[in-house]
Symmetry: C2
Subunit: 298 residues, 2 copies
């Protein structure tokens, strides 16, 4: 994750162009949330995919950095909104008070809206059109925006809320769980890898292989998350441990047992790696990220 | 406003591609909010501006309809989020229960997020690239997204909340009021007209004239809104009348008197019309919309 300092500096840039004194507060809330210590998994995946296909690392970064940054803005927005009292009601995120605890619900909602819209502005304005065909940039915007709405993050979060019984008791099936994770977690990871590949110059078939890889990794990511909730400490996680258990939430360890969940994470990761075989050594950075995602401690 | 049936049908299309049963609820909430009887001012302005520059009405619609629809989705999202209990806490909008009253806060927040992201998906996917240069479509996305964040809708709403004393007493100046309206109301109207012009084929100078027109109309729109709050009935408005007065909110009638506010609305509209002079008869639809906006009853 050696790209983190560059990514952090660029993320800060997205909010520093303030217009005091009027928008200080919302920019501050955006900055607080962006800089709360995220692992930058989506930007790093996007850049690694771009590097697989671009002529050089420099060209990959030039083409894909604005999109990488946008993906982290969207991820941050989704955490801010999901943490709200009317949803998951989380007070702690990455070891710090959540945005609405620190800035109030109104600011957390508005700053999230600002991050979501600015993410598309960033892709549209900052991707160099002399390096990337504008049609491809439009394709990237369509894919990224498509994985936020009813068939993406938002749809996944709604089913998650329904499964928690917020609108009446509901029996949760493995299919429900897969649907939630496919939409709430995997969709944005798939877009991260696919858009990186597109911006790096991949053809359609190559983009499809990347999507299959990322879908598996996305599901493995969520299984790992569920396992960490059981085995991790609050200190390691930076958020309340065993929260899912307390909330009687349906998780992979609960459905498959802890060993079963671990086996499922391994199976998904191995299958993911299979999709990268055609790319040989060029896929090494992406494969390393896959391992990192599964073995992480928080 | 003869375009309303077409626009309503297209807005419905943005939410009908459901994936039952999991996203039904959020699609339903999006549909409820989109179909709550909006006047479609932004789409109509966008289409009228496109018609000024396109070879025919058909070409203007083909190029600008996806953006027109996107603008209404964004406007709807901003109403849904502004109405939330942590912000303006409005129970009634266009004569109906607001989205969070009907579907809950969680759904209103998530459906708003979905509308915001889908708006960009719509522009990127549906604008015909064989009719509009992809670079221009990117310009449109940059402009529309740019007027939502800290320097647009979100920034305006934050200052509005601050001026209402939500974070301590604050003296509200005419400058504050102008800043709020420029960002909260005018920015999206400016983008509507400017993007319509761009999609219709306007050159840079023509786009600038359209922006100046729209900025004035945007401010006049807000002055008219403030006047209606004083003079309108709850029945006409479809929302609680005299709410601003009750909330001791700073408004144009309060700062300038009712006659002074009316004179300001007329002045802004006349100045706006001046910017349309170079376009002669082609500007008639836009000028008619300007009059409609000022003379409306709700």
């Amino acid at each position: 994750m050696s790209k983190q300092p560059v990514l952090n500096a660029m993320l800060l840039e997205t909010v520093v162009s303030r217009d005091p004194p009027n928008t200080d507060l919302v920019s501050e809330c955006m900055e607080y949330s962006l800089m709360a210590g995220g692992k930058r998994v989506r930007p790093v995946l996007c850049l690694a995919a771009a590097e697989m296909f671009a002529a050089s690392k420099e060209e990959a970064e030039e083409a894909a950095l604005p999109t990488a940054i946008a993906l982290e803005m969207i991820h941050t927005m989704s955490l801010m909104h999901d943490d709200l009292p009317s949803m998951d009601n989380d007070d702690l995120r990455r070891g710090k008070p959540t945005s609405h605890v620190k800035y109030g619900e109104d600011l957390a909602i508005l700053a999230g809206d600002g991050l979501l819209s600015t993410s598309f502005q960033w892709i549209a304005e900052k991707t160099p059109q002399d390096k990337v065909d504008p049609s491809k940039i439009l394709d990237v915007i369509a894919r990224v925006s498509g994985c936020v709405g009813a068939k993406g993050l938002v749809g996944g979060q709604v089913l998650d809320l329904l499964c928690e019984g917020k609108r009446g008791k509901r029996d949760v099936t493995v299919d429900d769980l897969k649907w939630i994770h496919t939409h709430k977690t995997a969709a944005l990871l798939v877009a991260s890898v696919a858009c990186g590949a597109i911006l790096g110059g991949a053809n359609e078939e190559e983009v499809e292989a990347c999507e299959k890889f990322a879908l598996n990794i996305g599901l493995a990511f969520q299984v790992a998350d569920d396992i960490l909730d059981v085995t991790g400490t609050t200190e390691d996680l930076g958020k309340t441990a065993a929260k899912d258990l307390d909330a009687d939430k349906t998780t992979y360890p609960k459905l498959l047992g802890l060993d079963g969940a671990r086996a499922e994470a391994v199976r998904l990761t191995e299958e993911a790696k299979g999709f990268m075989e055609p790319f040989g050594d060029r896929a090494i950075p992406l494969l390393a990220l896959a391992d990192y995602i599964i073995d992480r401690k928080n």
